[in-house]
């Protein structure tokens, strides 16, 4: 059962990745205009047909479509993700390097929003209809309605530009040129982007946790706990939260995909050198191979996050064994 489950999980993951690759290939193939011609137009005003033909042959673009597809697929699996036009480096190298910086933001933001979201969501759902609940709920609806790029800009203007508490952007100060990268310095640069991403993602976890809590509050074992004479906080934190947070944990993985989209805006606004800003740069200079690489790494990221959530689940809920 367990092995079968892991295999099935791997199969679905591979399928998702395969679909991503296939979509990439389809887009490349069906895009308006000719890839080579566009590429050569950087060198020639009008590319001579024989040069185009030579390039097509060199890159195997004159071979049958199915053959091209498989050579593309095999290339991707072997780590050959193409060559970035703007960085003049292999796409995989660039993307992996930037992924690290994105994780510096995403991991703390995810952990922070998970903890805060679960705690206030649980409280809000438990005290359903109270002033605190309604205030929290309205606050969260309001927060969720603000577009992330706008939120990032406003936070940047207030805390970095007017109040000057934090740097305006980047990941290290200029002094890093002399003294090397100082972790504290990086942290002060990361603080505002992490805070923005946290605000962006906490609302989703809050909603889920609150909804889940509303269901849990009516369960029999809660009534039992109450009739045993336990006080309210004990029931809330020991019994209700532990059960209500289960669906939330799985959704945190889905939340990751949303965070990736959010990080494009947040990183761009704060000039943070991660995948998000790389996406923006790739868009600006129309670096197609790089964009595809970004999409592939994003897919991988979500797949890994999902598998991770699955693996964590049994630790939170002892009744569940992986795969059952």
């Amino acid at each position: 059962m367990r092995l079968a489950y892991v295999l099935r999980r791997l199969l679905y993951s591979a399928l998702a990745f395969g679909i991503s690759v296939t979509i990439m290939f389809a887009i490349l193939h069906f895009m308006p205009g000719d890839y080579i011609t566009q590429y050569l137009e950087a060198i020639y005003t009008i590319a001579p047909p024989e040069v185009v033909e030579a390039y097509n042959h060199a890159y195997g673009l004159d071979r049958p479509l199915i053959e091209q597809y498989f050579s593309y697929l095999i290339g991707v699996l072997q780590g050959d993700w193409g060559y970035s036009l703007s960085y003049s480096r292999p796409v995989l190298d660039v993307v992996c390097e930037k992924l690290v910086w994105t994780l510096v933001l995403l991991l703390p933001a995810t952990v922070l929003s998970a903890i805060v979201g679960i705690v206030i969501g649980a409280y809000s759902g438990w005290k359903r209809g109270s002033k605190a609940d309604i205030a929290l709920l309205n606050g969260m609806i309001f927060l969720r309605a603000i577009p992330s790029y706008w939120l990032a800009l406003v936070i940047l203007i207030i805390f970095a530009f007017y109040l000057g508490f934090f740097p305006l952007g980047g990941y290290v100060s200029l002094s890093a040129l002399d003294t090397g990268i100082d972790p504290l310095d990086v942290m002060s640069h990361a603080a505002l982007p992490i805070f923005t991403l946290f605000l962006f993602s906490v609302t989703g976890i809050y909603y889920l946790m609150r909804n889940s809590m509303l269901m849990t509050a009516g369960e029999d074992y809660i009534v039992t706990a109450r009739s045993k004479g336990l006080d309210d906080p004990a029931i809330l934190w020991r019994h209700a939260v532990r059960n209500a947070m289960l669906p939330t944990v799985t959704m945190i993985a889905f939340q990751c995909a949303r965070m990736l989209a959010g990080s494009i805006f947040v990183e761009t606004v704060f000039s943070w050198p991660g995948l998000g800003m790389l996406t923006y740069e790739a868009i600006e200079v129309r670096d197609f191979p790089l964009l595809q690489g970004i999409l592939l790494i994003d897919t991988l990221f979500v797949i890994v996050a999902n598998i991770g959530a699955d693996m964590i689940y049994p630790f939170i809920d002892p009744r569940v064994e992986v795969g059952s």
């Binding site: 979509i23 309605a145 706008w150 800009l153 889920l208 995909a257 129309r286 897919t299 990221f301």
Partner: protein, 295 residues
């Protein structure tokens, strides 16, 4: 349903408090509906309301607000107020068209999967699971950059890529309906599957679909304007994302020109908030148990 923690005394004050907030259905519902209708009216009558052509140079560049230019002018000497008014159109098109596409798709898939159940359901849901793993926004970016579609096609693509998460909610509702007495009874009368799905199941899930439509519209509005912010919006139109991008890139922040930077962002936030509120109040009205999970 009520929380145990609320005393009767507390309830009366809460009732007043609720009247002005989300949980008091009426005010929230009608206020947000009012805002949405006002936006629709602005979009419809944009040519009448806007004093200037949004693309024309209508004064000196970077002028502060005055009587002729209510919100001043941008770096290209275009009237910011007129651009704001015209931008309403793009926002509503992106949001509502995207939502329509995704909701129609979700409803059809959800009904079919939930109604037939068994193997069909299994295959469809696994497919949805797999598709949900592919990050929709980066995919949308890649496709928009490669094909450079206009606003309508963008909205449709957005709906197709970003919409599948509604299938789960609709399907679970249909699963219960499919085994309910009236459906089984209709089947016994000899009604066809198509007839049952269209005439009996669909009307029963319409309120749910409606709520989903509003939340999706909010989502796609933010996404669509985000595309403009990243500089890949439809260049033939004014949209608020492009306005924010222009203001933040060309001196709006550094020069502290708030009348350039703030209004488009505020305009998005207000309509987005109205939609969120409307959806929430409506959902509470039709479904007090909050069966719909919002992610």
């Amino acid at each position: 349903m009520r929380s145990f923690g609320v005393t009767p005394h507390a309830r009366s004050s809460i009732r007043v408090w609720r009247w002005v907030t989300v949980s008091g259905h009426n005010v929230a519902l009608y206020l947000s509906l009012g805002v949405i209708l006002v936006y629709c009216a602005i979009a419809l009558f944009a040519p009448v309301i806007a004093p200037f052509d949004p693309f024309a140079m209508s004064g000196s560049p970077l002028a502060p607000p005055d009587a002729t230019h209510l919100l001043g002018t941008n770096d290209l000497a275009q009237d910011i107020f007129s651009r704001l008014i015209w931008g309403t159109r793009a926002t509503l098109i992106l949001g509502f068209l995207g939502a329509a596409v995704s909701v129609v798709m979700d409803t059809i898939i959800g009904i079919v999967a939930g109604y037939y159940g068994g193997r069909v359901d299994e295959v469809v849901m696994r497919f949805v699971d797999v598709m949900m793993t592919i990050p929709a926004f980066p995919l949308l970016l890649v496709v928009t950059i490669f094909f450079r579609p206009g606003i309508y096609v963008t909205a449709v693509i957005m709906g197709l890529f970003g919409g599948l998460n509604g299938v789960r909610i609709i399907r679970s509702q249909v699963l219960t309906l499919a085994v309910s007495d009236f459906v089984v009874g209709t089947k016994a009368l000899g009604a066809g599957d198509g007839y049952i799905m269209g005439r009996h199941i669909l009307p029963n899930i319409l309120p749910l679909v409606g709520v989903k439509f509003v939340t999706s519209a909010q989502h796609f509005m933010l996404v669509g304007i985000g595309l403009g912010f990243l500089g890949i919006g439809d260049q033939n139109l004014v949209d608020w994302g492009q306005m924010i991008e222009r203001a933040s890139q060309n001196g709006g922040i550094i020069l502290g020109l708030w009348w350039w930077l703030i209004p488009p962002g505020l305009a998005v936030t207000v309509i987005s908030l109205a939609l969120a509120w409307f959806a929430y109040a409506w959902e509470e009205r039709i479904n007090p148990r909050f069966q719909v999970m919002r992610v």
